[in-house]
Amino acid sequence: TPAFAEGFGLGRTALPEEIAAWDIDIRPDGTGLPEGSGDVWTGEEVFADQCAACHGDFAEGVDNWPKLAGGADTLADEDPLKTVGSYWPYLSTTWDYVNRSMPFGNAQSLEPDDVYAIVAYILYSNDLVDDDFVLSKETFAAFEMPNAGGFFVDDRMETEFTKWVGEPCMENCKDSVEITMRAAVLDVTPEEETTEDT
């Protein structure tokens, strides 16, 4: 710190309006949320207009587009379905991401009440609220996501590093080597258009 304590005198002070325009992140406890509210039925209408073309009428996803609902209790399955309802730990993330980055191709076009309503509808689509649910800045903090406790901080240094450290085997490391899987059998690699002159 001391080397830069004086500063370079570069840049200018950010104005409150500028900070308000860009600093829109929402914290897990709801800090940053604007005033507003939205109910499930309003959310269904907005969702149908703005979201359903990709995410489906019931947030179940169209084609390869992300599924926002479903997948409850599938996280330990062979093929888990990770959605807002089954996987996302915080409701703040849904509000923040919809508000800043959706709809895809027309981001930052939603009013706060629209976002509250869409988020309420996504919760309803995940069977997490009843159809009379109203999401607002006030009701926000009381809502806990099903998988809120499903995450833990990177533990690789304890669970992996200690196992895979030190001098490795160099000779006679195994008795036999058999092929167990081949990419050519799956055959999903794009064809190479080679320009090589052979």
Binding site: E160, F161, P168, C169, L186, P190
Partner: protein, 425 residues
């Protein structure tokens, strides 16, 4: 399955080299019977004229290298906007990735942002919230560093088995560039951190100017350590698709955090838990719980040639086995190569001593007897960590982590020189 080839003695290497012409169709014949017209006849390029110096103000590779390009895999994502493409690492050598074929990963496309329109905001728990123009950034003291940027999902399609047939597809979500920029620390100190108080539990939230925003939370310790606000890569301005005019460089950490078109840095007293660190870039374990904040990219390597897209065409004899190794936790100290699927290993030669959080090139100069090989490489970094097998990784994590697959890769090289992505016992 045939026996693995024996280790190469010095004498065996020389004998193989001398005999290489006999059975091989390709170049390198020890003795020619008829004169080569490429030598005995005057060629057009030896008598006519080439292009003038005004022909190419900014050059592209010669047309014969037209296959050394980024490729995408259509079925991986719903569209090409929030998607990925792959660096042709099978065809490159050395360590510096040419920017024009360095992989791209966008979440709402590669945006066009002029320097004149560029603004960088620093706000939150700072003494003075600041706005910088692009020109302001160029007036701070600069540093130069070479670092790899590896997508957290690199090799992610290979968790469940051998899927994509080529090093470009299995390991090509990576590039390695020399960055010029201003330490993030310098900018944070320009805004002043006295307001933040004890920095040990503080975070910065960084976000881009694009619609996806790509916001991520970074602990203050890393922000003040080696993060760079970069505006040049490999000597020139960043490419549009790599964040022009300014991106964040987060040495050793997953590529998602290298926020492009960076527009805002907020000093906070906790993480935001944004979409890109909850829904994405969290790693599901076998029991359904998930790791979060898996920032560092562990030691990893891959043989780039021979490989499925770079088969052996010259027959038996001298063969250069080469590849890349890297670690997000420090410098690569050693790379071992196996030709028999991991039964025996030889220590390869590093082209240069490994540099911290940068790609390292390795070579194993060998004598190929024309028999099948199961090529593997195994990286070690300065912490003593040894790159694990896929089986070892699966034992801890299961099959659904998606991200952070740094397993040992196997290429099955057959007697005809063709290679395939396989898993072996």
């Amino acid at each position: 399955m045939s026996k693995p080839s024996k280790g190469t003695s010095r004498r065996g290497f020389l004998r193989g080299a001398a005999a290489a012409g006999a059975g091989a169709v390709a170049a390198g014949a020890a003795k020619a019977n008829t004169p080569d017209p490429l030598i005995t006849e005057v060629q057009s390029w030896a008598s006519g004229l080439g292009d003038g110096v005004d022909a190419t103000p900014y050059g592209m590779p010669i047309e014969f290298e037209g296959d050394v390009v980024r490729r995408n895999v259509e079925w991986l994502t719903a569209d090409t906007i929030s998607s990925i493409n792959f660096t042709p690492i099978h065809a490159l050598d050395g360590t510096i990735t040419p920017q024009g074929c360095a992989f791209e990963r966008h979440h709402s496309g590669a945006i066009e942002l002029r320097k004149q329109d560029y603004r960088l905001m620093i706000n939150g728990l700072v003494d003075r919230p600041l706005i910088f123009s692009y020109d302001d950034l160029e007036r701070f003291p600069r540093e130069n560093h070479v670092y790899f940027c590896e997508c957290a999902a690199n090799t992610g399609m290979e968790w469940a088995g051998a899927q994509l047939n080529g090093a470009q597809f299995t390991h090509g979500m990576i590039h390695n560039m020399e960055y010029t920029g201003v330490p993030l620390r310098t900018l944070l100190e320009e805004a002043g951190l006295d307001t933040a108080g004890d920095l040990s539990d503080k975070w910065v939230y960084v976000e881009g100017a694009d619609a996806s925003s790509n916001g991520r939370s970074i602990p203050m310790e890393k922000a003040l350590d080696d993060c760079l606000i970069a505006f040049k890569a490999n000597g020139e301005a960043l490419r549009k698709e790599h964040g022009y005019p300014v991106r964040l460089v987060v040495p050793g950490w997953e590529g998602n955090m290298w926020v492009k078109w960076i527009r805002r840095i907020e000093v906070m007293d906790g993480p935001v838990e944004s979409r890109e660190e909850t829904s994405k870039y969290t790693d599901v374990m076998e029991d359904g719980t998930a790791r979060k904040w898996t920032w560092a990219m562990d030691a990893k390597s891959v043989v780039t040639s021979p490989s499925p897209q770079a088969p052996i065409k010259h027959g038996k004899g001298p063969l250069v086995i080469t590849g890349l190794a890297w670690s997000g936790r420090g410098a690569i100290t050693r790379v071992d190569v196996s030709k028999d699927g991991g039964k025996t290993w030889e220590t390869a030669r590093l082209a240069k001593p490994g540099e911290k959080m940068a790609l390292t090139r390795f070579y194993l100069d060998t004598d190929w007897d024309g028999e099948e090989m199961f090529l593997q490489s195994r990286a070690m970094d300065e912490t003593g960590y040894v790159q694990p097998t896929k089986a070892q990784l699966r034992e801890v994590r299961g099959l659904n982590s998606i991200y952070h697959n740094n397993c040992i890769q196997t290429w099955w090289v057959r007697p005809d020189g063709e290679a395939e992505n396989v898993e072996v016992s």
